[in-house]
Assembly symmetry: C2
Homo-oligomer: 355 residues x 2
């Protein structure tokens, strides 16, 4: 594969250090990927030396402008014409890069991605998705995670469709099951939009495997492959799960560190605890693709480290490799064609066999 990635070097709490460190880790894992690195050359150069990056497989595109974490999306749209984030997204729109990765201001990143890459036909609102680890080892996907604080039933149905394609094509679930996040499993629970969405998804022939409502307890169980929710609830839920992992790990480490005996038992229990981290560590699950855009745009946690950022890069490479956007686009086209010929319906996804 001959993939080129645009990297915003200046977004995130510990940028550009953790960004360049992450690119270094990704270069080791993906020897054929080329990196276009957007940001302040004076800061980036020494880090490239520090992290021993392969200079033949990267190019720095210098800019001083940065979109800060507290900048409003509207301000980011108006100004900052040559910010590292904007230039990196434009590289995808121009065909210079296959995907862009940023750990910067989420609102600005989504707004700029929408303006520059444009939503896919038939998608009113792109969504932030995340692949989530589950007990059974197979991976779920939850969306939206914060792009759309308030959502209509139609938005949520579109999320279901995009999630279905992502689950099938990227995560390998042949007939993905879909659940709608609610505060109870009974039909009478929830607000008006949730109930309307439930009715739309239930009646639809195109969501082949709608399982009804799921609850917060189901986020990590793998009970369904696709969890559909508005951006407010999804953001809080995913961050609660991430926070729970972090707290539980800190608690275990503090208690294993209590005395020489517990430290010894830690060494013996370490393989199991390592497997636990490998499965649930937010760093190793970092990288949230924006779904519903004409181009691949992946958001990294702002608070991650080099290891975490390298995982977000891996998600972008995966998305390019599987040509996910083409598949979502084809799904939408077939949906619209079917709607034209068969009248109104909610969602169609062509369920293709895994290649």
């Amino acid at each position: 594969m001959n993939i080129k990635l645009a990297i915003d070097a200046m977004g995130g709490d510990d940028a550009p250090d953790m960004i360049i460190g992450g690119v270094g880790l990704a270069q080791k894992k993906y020897p054929s990927v080329f990196f276009l690195i957007f940001g302040d050359e004076a800061q980036i150069r020494p880090l490239i030396v520090k992290y021993k990056l392969d200079q033949a497989r990267l190019r720095i595109i210098h800019t001083n402008e940065v979109i800060t974490g507290d900048m409003k999306p509207s301000a980011a749209l108006r100004g900052s014409k040559s910010s590292s984030m904007r230039l990196a997204i434009e590289a995808v729109a121009d065909g210079q890069a296959d995907a862009v990765v940023s750990a910067g201001n989420t609102g600005a990143y989504m707004a700029l991605s929408k303006i520059i890459l444009k939503p896919l036909a038939g998608i009113d609102r792109p969504a932030i998705a995340a692949s989530i680890p589950t007990l059974l080892g197979k991976r779920g996907v939850m969306l939206d995670l914060g792009a759309n604080v308030e959502c209509s039933a139609e938005n949520l149905v579109q999320f279901a469709m995009m999630g279905q394609v992502f689950s099938q094509q990227v995560l390998g679930n042949t007939v993905p099951s879909v659940g709608l996040l609610n505060i109870g499993a009974e039909d009478l629970k929830g607000n008006a939009i949730i109930k309307e969405t439930h009715a739309l998804l239930k009646e639809s022939r195109w969501v082949s495997n709608f399982q009804g409502f799921v609850e917060g307890t189901d986020v990590l169980t793998g009970k369904v492959d696709v969890i559909v929710t508005d951006g407010f609830t999804g953001n809080v839920s995913l961050k609660t799960a991430e926070g729970s992992f972090t707290i539980f790990k800190q608690f275990l480490m503090a208690n294993f560190g209590r005395n020489w005996w517990t430290r010894l038992t830690y060494l013996l229990a370490r393989p199991v605890l390592k497997a636990f981290s490998a499965q649930f560590d937010p760093r190793q699950n970092n990288g949230a693709p924006f779904l519903g855009l004409n181009g691949i745009s992946v958001k990294s946690h702002g608070g991650t480290d080099a290891i975490g950022f390298s995982y977000a890069i891996a998600v972008a490479i995966d998305m390019v490799d599987r040509d996910v956007n083409k598949l979502i686009r084809e799904g939408l086209e077939q949906w619209h064609a079917d709607m034209g010929s068969r009248g109104q319906d909610a969602v169609v996804v062509p369920l293709r066999a895994q290649g």
Copy 2:
């Protein structure tokens, strides 16, 4: 203490078995508490023998009627005049019992509690609260957890006030810090209601320690003592944290059970893993008080077991013991008096020294 508790024996997935088992455990821990048990005597009698309850400290009030899990709150209000749930709540209103505990239908339980016990003056909407374990060992409180799917800024400000009193009086945090659950810490994040609530709490002289926005990652850290949120978000967030604990524990147990060597390391690591469970196990954190009512009403998880139900009983005993409702009422009275003399303000809580 001479506490009498009303118990709805018929609510919850495994009722009445787990209810009577839970009462049995509570009888051992609280030898002076008397139990009024509402439900089907024919089912309850054998369980009282099975779990060896002290019959001198309980009375069965027989009824055949049960409010089922799928009953709408409106149906529960109209019919079921002698359901076990309704009779148990009425025992509190009549002064026969000091508090009521049920693991039944949450919506019906809240609706009946509101109608029978009545909200406190100044509280538009009672809330479901839960005391949550944190990394540092001190306990936080989050509300609302599902009683109010949609909330106004005024509702949320009232939740902040009630949570402040609960944190101070029951959980022992002298000057409780208060946070508003949102999808980011920056002021510009969130929907209109969240922003309005933020402004009200920030300007208020009566929320002494408002810390602004908190995120899902902060739910278990103890960053703030009181987490304020609407019932939809709070329900999903708490259930996500509970689900995370369950999944993480299942993952660890499965991996420790893999072969004789890992099983041996489990035995050695067991004290630390036990401490982990003791801190975060949802069963040991079971029991969500309804705050803002003229009477103490505690909700148990429907899916818990006897151990979990005994913890919900313990919460009710604690609430009676500390006279929490009187303190919330006094806080509200002082707030209203202050509002009368000083003009509009959001919230007042008298910060009294711990007794």
